[in-house]
């Protein structure tokens, strides 16, 4: 028999081993979804309204986390993203308040993100300070700036078009925030997986010196990752603004940690060299779903935080490679 002959020739052709850590985020997502469906399905958890609600509230984190996947894959970290989101929101709000058209305000908001991103990139790649420290400082500095520009006063956004596109609107019944986050994730997926830039990001993160010796300009690559991260953070600030119809200094507080959690839950290596945008997207949805479910279950904020934190540790522990 044909198959038998092949079998004797290659006795060790077992099925490829399933790498659990690559799928743990999807498994957890399914388990969490199932758990909430059973326990609070009748309290509206499964309603389309609520599912869209989850997608809406996670959009900002997803957008940040997609770019964060690039930064972490390149072996760096960006803690300044939450502060950048608020800076972009306030810049956008001030420009609109000054009477400019909303597209001008959007460009100004994104520019604010790109400027901070390039500063991060400069200090990491040119001066050579570890990104953890640079962006930790930048997080503080920019948050201070956020508070200073309007003396912590909120700026109301009354432009209907802006608010529709960047937050409260929908297209064919699909919330615009969901469209934004899917679009950004798709773009990130394609860039990381199918472009030369994506390969160079991963090579830089996995072994910077080997990448250098292979002709990869690793400084440029890392700089680009910080620019990307700044731009994505700025976009998320615009989304916060559109959703709240206000720009406020405290937008994005804690978003950097949520985004990093989403990235790592998704299966991206914290040490660089291995990244997955699909995983990040699932990780972000997982965090959003947990938060949403716990609210519906009636837990108060303190309890929500404890449970969500516990689940994150558990999921990462399950996804860890067994120690040798």
């Amino acid at each position: 028999m044909q198959s038998k002959a092949t079998a004797t020739l290659r006795p060790n052709t077992a099925l490829p081993k399933v790498q659990l850590q690559n799928y743990v985020v999807y498994i957890f997502f399914a388990v969490v979804l199932g758990f909430f469906a059973i326990t609070i399905g009748d309290k509206g958890f499964l309603s389309v309204m609520n599912l869209f609600n989850i997608a809406r509230t996670t959009a900002m984190i997803t957008v940040i986390a997609v770019a964060m996947t690039f930064v972490i894959s390149a072996g760096e970290l960006d803690l300044s993203v939450g502060s950048i989101a608020a800076l972009s929101a306030l810049t956008c709000g001030l420009v609109m308040q000054a009477g400019f058209a909303w597209p001008v305000a959007v460009v100004a908001g994104l520019a604010a993100g790109l400027i901070v991103g390039s500063l991060n990139g400069f200090f990491v790649t040119v001066i050579g300070i570890p990104s953890f420290l640079v962006t930790l400082g930048m997080m503080q500095f920019v948050r201070g700036l956020d508070m200073r520009v309007t003396y912590t006063n909120p700026i109301a956004i009354s432009n209907k078009t802006y608010n529709m596109i960047f937050g409260s609107g929908s297209l064919f019944g699909i919330p615009s925030l969901l469209i934004w986050s899917v679009a950004v994730a798709l773009l990130g997926f394609v860039v990381l997986k199918y472009t030369g830039f994506g390969r160079e990001i991963l090579a830089t993160g996995a072994n910077r010196m080997a990448a250098e010796y292979s002709g990869v300009k690793t400084r440029r690559i890392k700089f680009a990752a910080f620019l990307l991260s700044g731009a994505a953070a700025a976009l998320s600030g615009l989304l916060y603004t559109g959703m709240m119809q206000t720009a406020r200094f405290n937008f994005g507080e804690g978003a950097e940690l949520m985004a990093i959690a989403a990235v790592i839950l998704g299966g991206t290596s914290l040490f660089g060299g291995k990244g997955t945008i699909l995983g990040t997207f699932a990780g972000s949805l997982l965090i959003g779903t947990i938060n949403n479910g716990l609210i519906i279950m009636g837990l108060d904020v303190s309890e929500q935080m404890m449970v969500a934190g516990g689940i994150i540790i558990l999921a990462v522990a399950f996804g860890k490679k067994p120690a040798n």
């Binding site: 006795p11 060790n12 077992a14 199918y194 472009t195 030369g196 830039f197 390969r199 160079e200 991963l202 090579a203 996995a206 072994n207 010196m209 080997a210 990448a211 250098e212 010796y213 292979s214 002709g215 990869v216 300009k217 060299g273 291995k274």
Partner: protein
């Protein structure tokens, strides 16, 4: 000569999953013997030694040390049984002193207190180092020592734990000639004092001068155990490769016409360190060997050619124009296979395919997107051409043997058909089979017109591959000889050592 056996391993079996790695292996070690353990990559020698040092548990068989059957479930048990491994990649803490490393986790205390008695620790360290006959300051930081001295500290650490059996894995792979001979002397003294040594190495000449017996493994079995006195290199190679499989690691007289165009011209190169005035040419199709001591500036020359370093003065003309940067060098067809493939050559956690594509991304990218189908074809061709042994292009390069890893590093540049190929220590940690395949590949490249620069500490290798050999000494090219004018390795060896006999460098201040 019937000496008492200190170690007897019989019928050792070990499988990983369904794959048997050791099939009933036997190995014996006499008291006060230096016993070479040889075999190609994947022959099973490191697995056997990991069983002896308690890293792996054997599936079957018996280990008897000093007449006592031992279990060896973990490293601590092996240590208690008197077995110590001197690691290839050193396991010392660079920020601690020599004495602190020797007594790490076993520091002597002031009696009855938990406080470490530093003076006592230094005193005892000094006693051990004196016994070894080496002049190392116990208070020196390990990071300030040369590699050779670090290895001696490792040995001192093992002896302080009353080790009877030392396993040394490629101990000379990163030592200079002077350090190597110092190590050989030390090994001789250890042997005389009754310590038994398992010596793993790929270097034939070294084995035959140093060892008492040789055991050769192949495919998870012991195929030969003989007294060194009765052996020749040819017989060892035959045992390692299997009969009728002997590869050709012999020199071929390649005629490179004098009129061939020079591909690279190095003129009065002076670097910040070590290199004072170096000039040479490499012509199309020519293989030039660069010989010199470890630390003589060979790697620095290679990196300057490749555009990674700036010269203080002098110039590198590549195909008629000076090299302005690494990007320029690569774009115009230069390739460098760096010395440390794990650090600089390969992205170990990425696949074979990804590594081969990495320097060639520019060629496979159309409108931002990588053309994976076209790239996969080239990757497969490279794997076939260099006979890289891998389950497929998606296998992580970390999981391949040293020889196959090195073939990836060479292969990724071959895709570009380089004008100048620089190989820095291309066969360190590479078994003899892969070695001769690499030599064949390089020769085939040169036959097609590529100029090649080979840097190596192994004279045997330089003698086998080069058309011309440059000897680097004291920051200059001391000699440039045609290979066909060099009769023996000895001659080359003397040229490298120079007229003044250089003393071993004292790393410890």
């Amino acid at each position: 000569m019937t000496q008492a056996l200190i170690l007897e391993m019989t019928d050792i079996r070990k499988s990983f999953g369904a794959i048997p790695v050791l099939k009933q292996v036997g190995f014996t070690l006499r008291k006060g013997e230096v016993h070479a353990l040889m075999g190609g990559n994947g022959a099973g020698k490191s697995t056997l030694m990991k069983i002896l040092t308690g890293v792996y548990r054997r599936d079957g068989g018996q280990v008897v040390i000093d007449g006592q059957p031992v279990d060896l479930p973990d490293a601590t048990a092996a240590e208690r049984a008197g077995v110590a491994m001197i690691f290839q990649e050193f396991s010392l803490v660079p920020t601690l002193t020599v004495a602190q490393n020797i007594f790490l986790k076993r520091e002597p205390r002031f009696a009855g207190t938990p406080f470490i008695n530093g003076a006592e620790m230094v005193r005892r360290s000094r006693a051990i180092l004196d016994e070894l006959g080496v002049d190392i300051d116990p208070n020196a930081l390990v990071s300030s020592l040369s590699v050779g001295y670090m290895q001696i500290v490792e040995i001192a650490k093992a002896l302080s734990k009353k080790a009877q059996i030392l396993v040394m894995d490629e101990p000379t792979s990163s030592l200079s000639e002077a350090e190597t001979s110092a190590l050989f002397e030390l090994v001789g003294r250890l042997r005389a004092s009754g310590i038994s040594i398992v010596y793993i190495s790929h270097r034939m000449a070294e084995i035959l001068t140093l060892c008492d017996r040789v055991t050769v493994m192949r495919d998870g079995e012991t195929v030969m155990t003989e007294n060194c006195a009765d052996l020749s290199v040819a017989r060892i190679v035959e045992a390692m490769l299997g009969a009728g499989n002997t590869a050709t690691f012999t020199w071929k007289d390649r005629a490179v016409p004098e009129t061939a165009r020079p591909v690279v011209q190095v003129r009065n190169l002076r670097l910040a360190k070590r290199i004072d005035d170096v000039s040479f040419d490499i012509r199309e199709g020519e293989i030039v060997g660069l010989a010199g001591l470890m630390g003589s500036g060979r790697t620095e020359i290679a990196e300057t050619l490749f555009g990674r370093r700036k010269a203080v003065s002098g110039e590198v003309i590549f195909d008629g124009a000076p090299v302005t940067s690494q990007a320029d060098a690569i774009a115009r067809g230069m390739a460098l296979v760096p010395e440390d493939r794990r650090k600089f050559g390969l992205v170990l956690d990425h696949s074979v395919g990804a590594n081969i594509i990495l320097p060639n991304l520019d060629r496979f990218t159309r409108r931002l997107f990588v053309q994976d189908t076209a790239a996969a074809q080239v990757v497969q061709n490279t794997i076939n051409d260099l006979s890289i042994k891998t389950d497929g292009p998606d296998k992580l390069s970390r999981l391949l043997s040293g020889g196959n890893q090195q073939k990836i590093v060479i292969g990724k540049w071959l895709v570009r058909a380089p004008r100048l190929l620089i190989l820095d220590e291309p066969t360190i940690g590479v078994d003899i089979g892969a070695k001769s395949e690499i030599v064949d590949t390089v020769r085939a490249m040169a036959d097609k017109g590529t100029a090649v620069l080979v840097i190596s500490s192994e004279l045997e290798e330089l003698m086998a591959i080069s058309d011309r050999i440059l000897v680097l000494h004291g920051g200059r090219i001391a000699q440039s000889v045609n290979r066909r004018d060099v009769a023996t390795e000895e001659e080359l060896h003397h040229a490298i050592q120079g007229h003044s006999h250089s003393a071993p460098q004292h790393g410890a201040a």
